[in-house]
Amino acid sequence: MVTTTKTKTASNTSKAVELETVTVRFVGDSGDGMQLTGSQFTNTSAIVGNDLNTLPDYPAEIRAPAGSLGGVSGFQVNFSSKRIHTPGDCLHALIAFNPAALKTNLADLDHGGILVVNSDAFSQSNLDKAGYESNPLEDGSLDDYKLFAIPVGKLNAEAVADTGLSTKAAGRCKNFFALGVVYWLYERPLEPTTRWIEQKFAKAPAVVEANCKALKAGYYFGETAEIFPLTYRVPPAKIPAGKYRKITGNEATALGLVAAAKLADKKLFYASYPITPASDILHELAKRKNCSVKTFQAEDEIAAVCAAIGSSFGGAMAVTGTSGPGIALKGEAMGLAVIMELPLVIINVQRGGPSTGLPTKTEQADLLQAIYGRHGECPMPVLAASTAPDCFTMAIEAFRIATKYMTPVLLLTDGYLANGAEPWKIPSVDGLPKIEVKHPTDPDNYHPYQRDENLSRPWAIPGTPGLEHRLGGLEKDALTGNVCYLPENHEKMIHTRAAKIAKIADDLPLLEVDGDQSGDLLVLTWGSPFGATTTAVEQCRERGLSVSHAHLRYLEPMQKNVGEVLSRFKRILIPEMNLGQLSSRIRSLYLVDTISLSKVQGKPFMIREIETKIEQVLSEI
């Protein structure tokens, strides 16, 4: 989505056009360094003060054969001078490193958009691998676009020729050459990237030199070759004052967990088994030993959740993180945590399913599994983050609820939030809410299942004399926690466990509505469609449509006023990256009819998809 404003004269010979929002995408082979290139572009855009949002997209294979369609990796950056909430619907510029990348991505480029290709890679064999009958650079099929065919390979090789690197190593700099070109095109400074290169390769001066040379060469090529008639300028965004950094959802989740432990004055224990797209949380936390964080890479997801529960029994702030297939494996132990009433945070970074599905793509089809996916009556709070930075907030909130209510809590994020980056206004530690955790020590009148005003039982931990007790998965006496098979006790415990979770609703902020508080249409979201919906509703409202937006971060239990909010609107539209799971839940809870907008393509919603649906629904009222 590009909004042109006015044309200015740039400092060099090309003219500079000022744009509000620009989306660019870098695409190439898995080995071409696209993720790196995209991240650097993101960093730099952040530093110049744009609002931004990113969408990395990589294949399930580590490195499929060079030049193949299956091996294409991409990174999309949306940057803007206003607030944005998505990685952008379509592309202002596409930077394609080979024919396969061009083939699989061209459809997303705006008509008339900028297309930069590495013409060196358009060899016959690469064209064949991509399934091109003729060379698109020559056959006129790209006439609709502003095509810039640059022999990146050759130019880069020349640029770094005197750094003493091998041909192969020198070739690896070509992404920086291309990045330089794009920096020039969008008037971005080189300095943040050169600084990064210097740090990253500090031990290999030749590599630093080569990469910096390539970057600069690309930039100067843009300037001097004069192939670009225009450059583009995206001014800084008007965003709230403060100190910012860029953060992905997984980083934010990890930091949120560290923060929660700190706020509770306790220690974090993270047990996990690697799985895409959740592994980065493990990697992040493994680096935090100096915060007394212990991480445990278990032999599988079952062992991981069990280890987390074991540590929770021991008094840890216990977390286990995974994605769909791992959640399936953790179900049995989650049930045990429910009946033992121990605090635990379980993170599900949702990905495309069912089964292995589309492991590197995003989806939000695990909601009903989160709520219902255990045997027996097994209630558990379920939260979901809405944006990458929100993962930080919700990780803390998950721990607040887990410890206050002595319960496992499921926190849902998704592949798009996990890997996508956004600017984050860094919170001050003092401003974060303390988490109060008490461990009883007094043996007098201690009963393992005696409940407080929140229906929570006491968290007595090993090492405390006189509070020795046994927990387990058999039904337990309502006070002593001893094994108890009595029918009435079982029924009482079933109801008490349910009531405890239901009662959390009293402790949640009310649901707020963005826009009119009542009207024709409410768009109700959960999870990552928050971003596209926010913009879509804003834009529709600017055009005078009667539409509002409410976003659920608490899926179980829901906030107390949800039913009431829904009743204020004629229609409820629910966009979800699944077949209507929240929709089904809302219908069951509130007996309210819903319109489900479903997208299950492994990709986030585009703004215009939601806008179109809003228009359609409103036109039918």
Binding site: R245, F269, K294, A307, G310, A318, L336, P427, G473
Partner: protein
Amino acid sequence: MSSQIPVEAVKLTAKQFASNQDVRWCPGCGDYSILAQVKKVLSNIGASRENTVFVSGIGCSSRFPYYMDTYGLHSIHGRALGFASGLKAYNPDLNVWVVTGDGDGLSIGGNHLLHAIRRNFDINILLFNNRIYGLTKGQYSPTSEIGKRTKSTPDGVIDYPLHPISVAIGAEASFVARTVDVHVKHLADTIERAARHKGTSFVEIYQNCNIFNDGAFQYATDKQTKADNIVELVHGRPLIFGKERTKGIRLNGLSPEIVTLGEGVTEDDLLFHDEKAREPSLAYLLSRMHHPEFPEPIGVFRAVERSTYEDVLQDQVTAAIERGKGDLDDILNEGDTWVVA
């Protein structure tokens, strides 16, 4: 170095480790004897109630924690070691015991056993081997013999049994032992050795299930036959057995053979046990001696020292903190930041 056993000022008695819950095993079950000896060992080593935790899975044997007045987790089937691993990794100061069965520990839980052993957590694993599924009323287990008829194998078991000690040695356990429910003193001594070992102690306990597999270990418990059917391992001593202690085990290449002392054979010709051998090859070889061809070894097969997971993890944490304690503010502000005015 001995294991992490938090010590009481005044030793508690065995009885003081009994919880107030009725013990619900079948009358005559071998589990009773093990329960009694574990309490005695805790008393002997001067353990404290509050720092001791018993963790179990599901099975008759796994009801164990309920009967101990210590902290306890009666978890889910096969996963006790998962819970114990997390608990010990988080809090290395606790004295952690795992009680499991041949089904719980070797069927559904076999993988966790391998991994706990290789990580060498300082925990004590007691595997009650009754060669049957007790709690689910009599299906065959991974230690049941070929041909055995059970509820789920009316035509006889067709899978070769696993030998718990061989499996543990396959994962290179630092402490491996075997004992028998009714050999009360041997049982207590072996459990105490396990308790005092720093690292994962794996103890197979032959346990009679008098309801579904009565007499499974009669050869090793019957007064008449046991001396011929078991051989006690003693570090540095030759393998001698038999009622009159006239029989011994000699190595022929890598094959053990039974010899009679006296007939041109002296003690020095026998296989001498070395529980501290760096490589577990001897322990493995001993684990291959099965009834009826051989007397079955009981006692400590292997006891070597090796760093424990929880200690090295704690060391890494300590070292990281020494390099610079993490400050939340700093962490939140890491990397490229920019200020919007």
